[in-house]
């Protein structure tokens, strides 16, 4: 207890705490945490408890006892395997495309004059925010069977009947809409780590632009780009609103983990047992991604400190 009090407060409190009775110390402890308690209690109840409950459900049989059956069934079912593969593949594709397009975009924007920088940032900002159900509809309105682009193509005599919105390609296009801008916003602060004077120093060392990127630009940026890739990957795998809007309940449509979870709300056509397993898998992905992200950041900034 006294150890705790020491670690907690500044010297003022510590000195007092040593001479206090247990009850008074408990009171001091309470005061130390008091204003944060509502937030901590609420967030724990609404964020940690559900996570634990999902973990528990994924290991609970119908009789409420511990079992690995849910996991075994999920991983042995071809449909779930498909859903998981699809989700990972989609997420990896989207993250990779976002990185490929986002990095040069981010670089260009970071070196723009103030006003054109604000202009592009504003557009990207809105696009990154416009990512849920609204985007689902906007996508249909543009590229669906009666979408603007579809009609435009047909008008010039191309037999384009709209992108199937629940196909892999369709989903990738829709996901990229918010994820490419998101990647740019994520990576923009890092672009300013790359100082102009390094390019100048490289030039005076007779380096070409390519050599500069090869030996300085890429090594400096790479860890951050990887970290951002990982975040986009995780977020894409967990996206819910957009795929539900685009894929929904259509039988035989593209399977995705989040869409399967959505279907378990209504459907009885597949056992409830898979949903908690999916949820735990997504949680694990989140945890791994977050920890890796922190680790990469620490390594990436090692030479900065």
């Amino acid at each position: 207890m006294s150890h705790h009090a020491q670690a907690t407060g500044s010297g003022r409190y510590t000195a007092a705490a040593r001479t206090l009775s247990i009850g008074e110390r408990a009171k001091a402890l309470f005061v130390d945490w008091s204003l944060a308690l509502p937030l901590i209690v609420m967030a724990s109840l609404l964020l940690i408890a559900p996570a634990l409950s999902m973990v528990w459900s994924s290991f609970a049989g119908e009789d409420g006892h511990f079992t690995l059956a849910n996991w075994a069934k999920t991983f042995s079912s071809a449909a779930s395997q498909h859903a998981m593969e699809n989700s990972l593949l989609l997420a990896a594709t989207v993250a990779t495309l976002s990185t490929l397009f986002g990095t040069p975009l981010s670089w260009m924007i970071s070196r723009m004059a103030r006003w054109s920088r604000s202009f592009h940032l504003g557009i990207l900002n809105v696009a990154a925010n416009f990512s849920g159900i609204g985007l689902g509809f906007a996508y249909v309105a543009a590229l669906g069977t009666y979408g603007m682009v579809t009609l435009a193509f047909q008008n010039v005599g191309l037999g384009f009947t709209g992108l199937p919105q629940s196909s892999f390609t369709g989903l990738v296009l829709a996901y990229c809409y918010s994820n490419v801008p998101l990647f740019v916003l994520l990576s923009l602060p890092v672009m300013s780590l790359l100082r102009d004077e390094w390019w100048e120093a490289a030039q005076t060392s007779a380096a070409t632009r390519w050599q500069f990127w090869r030996y300085i630009g890429a090594p400096v940026l790479m860890p951050f780009i990887l970290a951002d890739w990982l975040l986009i990957f995780t977020w894409s795998a967990g996206m819910y609103g957009l795929p539900v809007a685009l894929v929904g309940e259509k039988p035989g449509a593209f399977r995705l983990v989040t869409v399967e979870m959505y279907r378990s709300l209504y459907g009885s056509f597949f056992g409830d047992h898979r949903m908690p397993v999916y949820a735990v898998l997504l949680m694990c992905l989140a945890a791994v991604s977050l920890l890796t992200n922190r680790w990469i950041m620490r390594r990436g900034t090692r030479w900065l400190t």
Binding site: A207, I216, R302
Partner: protein
Amino acid sequence: MSTITIEHVSKRYGDKLALDDVSLNVHSGELIALLGSSGCGKTTLLRAIAGLIDPSAGRILFDGRDVTAVPTRMRPIGMVFQSYSLFPNMTVRQNIAFPLKVRGQSTAAIARRVDELLALIGLGEWADRHPSQLSGGQQQRTALARALAPDPAVLLLDEPLSALDAVVRLHLRDEIRRIQQSIRTTALLVTHDQSEALAVADRVVVMRQGRIEQLATPASLYETPTTAFSASFIGNRNALNLPVRDGRIRLCGTIEIATALTTPRALVFVRSEDVRRSNDASGQAATIENRIFEGSTTRFYLTIPTDDGPLHVKADWPSRETDELRSGDTINVVIDPRDAHVFPG
């Protein structure tokens, strides 16, 4: 080794002229020091020579060949940046090796050269550190080694010694001079330290507001500044603003200088060591206001009463010979008119 010719180079930033019609001829193997107050365009001039900025007007030639349009990396230069600009992801060794690596030298040759340079700058034991783990002075030495690595024909040094302590600074100053002479590279060195400029340079350029104020050898710059600005910049000079009467300026007492000036007032520069003590009556009485011990010399702040009001003068005298002088004492001083440099006031 290469001559550098700068012909009427100007650089404009918005409505500010950072370089204003600068022309300069640097001989092959020469070391030129650029002196001038902050913001006068020294860095801008180096960057123009390096090709990091395009001059708004004028040409730059290396060995008579116009390089104004040649990209930086094709110019035979090595440069130390004012802010070092070390590559943060590379160790000291890798930083120094970089110019050699991009020039496609063999690994063995690079290793040999880098070891040589590490020994020269005395950073052997720090070779595998990243720049962020080094002190400012160590970073600056690394930057110097990186610039020297490829034996460049033109060496551009933007305050390469500013972050170093006095001892290392003197040592490296002399090393730079030695290397520069041994590989006979042409060098431009920016510095704020006039003694550094006078000590290492073959010629010194004094810059002011984007223009070259004076170009001269250290000795002639020290002895005969051609403008009031140079005079105030080099040597510890008293700047005395005095009236001109009938083509004569009365310094103090009986000491007068003949002048062709027609302006009502004149700016007279007298180095502080040229204010001498005298024991005969030709001297002028002066009161010691304050004395500051500076090692081998001691600086005295003196007040000389004149008809135009008191004149405040500083004088540097050998400490050994002035032990007995105290604040408040009155002594006799003389100034030889030949030591004074006169400019319109």
